[in-house]
């Protein structure tokens, strides 16, 4: 029996398909890595799109003027962010309505050929003043001010609501402007949520600030993580399981991703994990390769298993095998065992290839990977290689299922195409 298995292994390892699949996956991932690196180095945000819009807009109409103003303001802020860092304090301030509104106003006047007017100069100064206001300050001031503004808005809204209720009760006619304001319960709720989110972002910023004292000067990656965290927080906390819009699977996936991101980024900020460029890029290469390209391993498995039976039938070599002094069950068993061993080995080799190919463009530092448990809401750290190994092992039951399925198809149809398509259709 051992000799039979040895023979099957010998045959498989002399087949080119085994090596071709490894080489193809290596080349694909390596190419993807260099492409990602190239894009990162050579292509910044697409300011040309805005420039194009500004150039072609019709400034004689009202709509055209508004569009010109919006695009020009965006372009200026985008250029500023590019210079200062996407997640720098300056960029955040410039994106804030407090700064954005006067800037848009300025460009609207430019569109109306009043760029030199006093009014335009005033708007311009207002924008510069907002930016200057945070010179030498940091995110905690910025978010603090923002939280203050939102809190004031909430108070105002609640006061107004109470006033309206009182007026309705006493039968007093409301002033015209007030009666037109549609102030529902939801709006106040939304404002409260915004307030909470801003406070949470503020808290994380403070922590981040303690961690890296130059946050406001633009440690882009750390600020980025704080921004991601805030975004994930909003999605995750706003998620309402009773809302019909969230009933479908896509929404649930979004929610789960947001939950995972929320806890992961929180963990990173809490634990002062340096998330540098190299690591981010390589993880982005490897981790999707692990999950999405499992299909690649499966294709190989299906090809191999379908081939190991069907090929022998097609080439007639099965006859030589069947007239040897062995029971047929033994011959089939040896093939199943050999296939399983090869697929497990290929699986390991494949992940080795993924690791090496993804590391060549970005460097071979041994990093840890964060993983999240949905049951305990906890985040842990694991060596990247260990993580990959566990991932590989988790694929085994799936692989064994398809191995068995394709062997069944192979024995039933003795036709490579049918077995391959059959196995793949089920997958």
């Amino acid at each position: 029996m051992i000799k039979l298995i040895y023979n099957e292994l010998y045959k498989i390892f002399h087949k080119k398909v085994f090596y071709i699949m490894l080489i193809i996956s290596f080349a694909l991932i390596l190419g993807e890595g260099y492409l990602a690196k190239f894009i990162k180095n050579n292509m910044t945000e697409s300011t040309w799109l805005l420039e194009d819009r500004i150039e072609n807009v019709d400034k004689t109409t009202n709509e055209g003027q508004t569009e010109f103003a919006d695009a020009s303001a965006q372009l200026e802020v985008m250029k500023l962010c590019e210079k200062e860092g996407t997640y720098s304090l300056k960029c955040a301030v410039a994106n804030d309505p407090e700064a954005m509104n006067p800037l848009t106003q300025y460009y609207l006047l430019v569109a109306q050929d009043k760029g030199d007017s006093e009014e335009a100069q005033k708007a311009r100064d207002e924008f510069d003043e907002v930016l200057k206001k945070y010179d030498g300050k940091d995110f905690k001031d910025f978010y603090g001010d923002r939280a203050k503004v939102i809190k004031e808005e909430i108070e105002e809204a609640e006061q107004m609501k109470a006033a309206i209720e009182l007026a309705v009760k006493s039968g007093t006619a409301l002033p015209k402007e007030i009666s037109e304001i549609d102030l529902s319960e939801n709006d106040i709720e939304q404002m409260k949520k915004d307030y909470n989110n801003t406070l949470e972002t503020l808290r994380m910023t403070l922590e981040g600030y303690e961690y890296l004292r130059d946050v406001n000067k633009g440690n882009n990656e750390t600020n980025g993580i704080i921004a991601y965290y805030a975004a994930a927080y909003n999605t995750y906390k706003d998620f309402d399981p009773d809302d019909s819009a969230y009933k479908d699977n896509d929404s649930l996936t979004t929610k789960r991703n947001a939950e995972k991101e929320y806890y992961t980024y929180k963990y990173m900020i809490d634990n002062r994990i340096v998330y540098n460029d190299v690591r981010a890029n390589r993880d982005q290469m490897i981790l999707p390769s692990l999950s999405a390209m499992n299909g690649f391993v499966l294709i190989f498995a299906i090809l191999l298993v379908a081939g190991i039976i069907c090929d022998e039938f097609n080439k007639g070599t099965i006859k030589q095998l069947l007239i040897k002094p062995f029971e047929r069950s033994k011959i089939l068993t040896s093939k199943i065992i050999a296939c399983t061993l090869v697929i497990l080995l290929f699986n390991l080799l494949y992940y080795g290839v993924v690791y090496v190919a993804a590391s060549i463009p970005f460097g071979f530092n041994v990093d840890s990977v964060l993983y999240y448990s949905f049951n305990t809401h906890s985040v842990g750290e694991m060596n990247l290689l260990v993580y990959m190994f566990i991932n590989t092992i988790c694929l085994i039951p799936q692989l064994l299922f398809y191995t068995a399925l394709c062997l069944l198809f192979g024995v039933l149809f003795t036709n490579l195409a049918i077995s391959f398509i059959g196995g793949f259709a089920v997958y």
Binding site: K3, L4, Y6, N7, Y10, K11, H14, K15, K16, K315, G316, T317, I318, K319, Q320, L322, I323, K324, P325, F326, E327
Partner: protein, 299 residues
């Protein structure tokens, strides 16, 4: 008795391919299995090797029933079915090593011996995909001989061999049968190749065994052809009163039985013909075969 086929019948989807086929083969004998295309030669061989199931009948190899003791029956069997089935992506030697693994006690020396026996020493490390058909046949035979078989079954082994290769194969098989006491079952439609070395023949047509005879009996069944050399041929038809084939001025050919020859000679002498020689033309295997099967028709 190394191989015994008893009342073998085989049907595919209601169509009877083999009908009551029985024959046997002793150690040291070479049995030529002859029949036109589609007569059931390959099917019979596949049934013997367990590649097709039997509808009826038994096959005993060295006394072991193949349906009940398959492993035991197959230990001392070497075979080529239809084509030499080899792994094209492996070298000749790698193919032989794989096959050696299926049996106990085949060492490297045995493999070298077999390679030398079929004359493939120079090309044995090349990939089989680069071999000519003849070389594949030789390698197939080497593979079939690896386990020192007592029964060798070869289905159309001369396909693709050049005349020299066929002569070598013939000598090899003769030697194997004689020296190693192997029973050889060889099927072919090329009768000229089987003519000189099979000890007996089995003729199959439409799934039925027409006859199993020794080489001599097959040809000495009926009347023979005689060639007579004389001084002249004019008037010879009139003198003999039988059908005469006039070949040339001094040669005639007649169909007759052995007992009639003295009478024919005396008749010729009486009519003043001068006779130089009378020779019996041996009936070729092909003639005998076509006579037995009545042409090459398949129902």
């Amino acid at each position: 008795m190394i191989l015994e086929v008893k009342n073998l019948s085989k049907s595919f989807g209601g169509r009877e391919i083999l009908k009551d086929v029985s024959f046997s083969l002793d150690k040291g004998d070479i049995l030529g299995f002859i029949g036109p295309n589609g007569a059931g030669k390959s099917t019979t061989i596949k049934c013997i090797l367990g590649l097709n199931s039997l509808t009826k009948g038994t096959v005993l190899i060295d006394g072991h029933d193949i349906t009940k003791e398959f492993s035991k029956a197959m230990v001392k069997v070497g075979a080529i079915v239809e084509n030499p089935d080899l792994y094209m992506y492996l070298s000749g030697k790698q193919n032989l090593r794989l096959i050696a693994n299926y049996y106990d006690g085949i060492n490297g020396k045995k493999i070298e011996d077999v390679i030398k026996l079929v004359g493939l020493e120079n090309r044995i490390n090349d990939k089989v995909s680069k071999y000519s058909l003849g070389m594949k046949q030789r390698l197939g035979i080497a593979a079939a001989l690896l386990n020192d078989p007592d029964l060798l079954i070869l289905d159309e082994p001369t396909n693709g061999l050049d005349p020299e290769g066929i002569r070598d194969l013939r000598n090899l098989l003769k030697k194997l049968a004689k020296d190693k006491n192997i029973g050889i079952l060889i099927s072919s439609h090329n009768l000229a190749e089987l003519e000189s070395f099979c000890s007996s023949y089995c003729i199959i047509q439409n799934g039925k065994i027409i006859s199993q005879t020794t080489a001599k009996d097959l040809k000495k069944d009926d009347d023979s052809v005689y060639t007579i050399m004389l001084d002249k041929t004019r008037g010879v038809k009139k003198a003999l009163g039988i059908e005469v084939d006039v070949v040339s001025d001094d040669e005639i050919r007649i169909h007759a039985q052995k007992e009639e020859i003295p009478d024919i000679i005396s008749t010729l002498v009486k009519n003043e013909f001068r006779i130089y020689s009378v020779t019996e033309d041996e009936l070729s295997l092909e003639d005998a075969f076509l006579k037995k099967t009545g042409g090459n028709k398949i129902d």
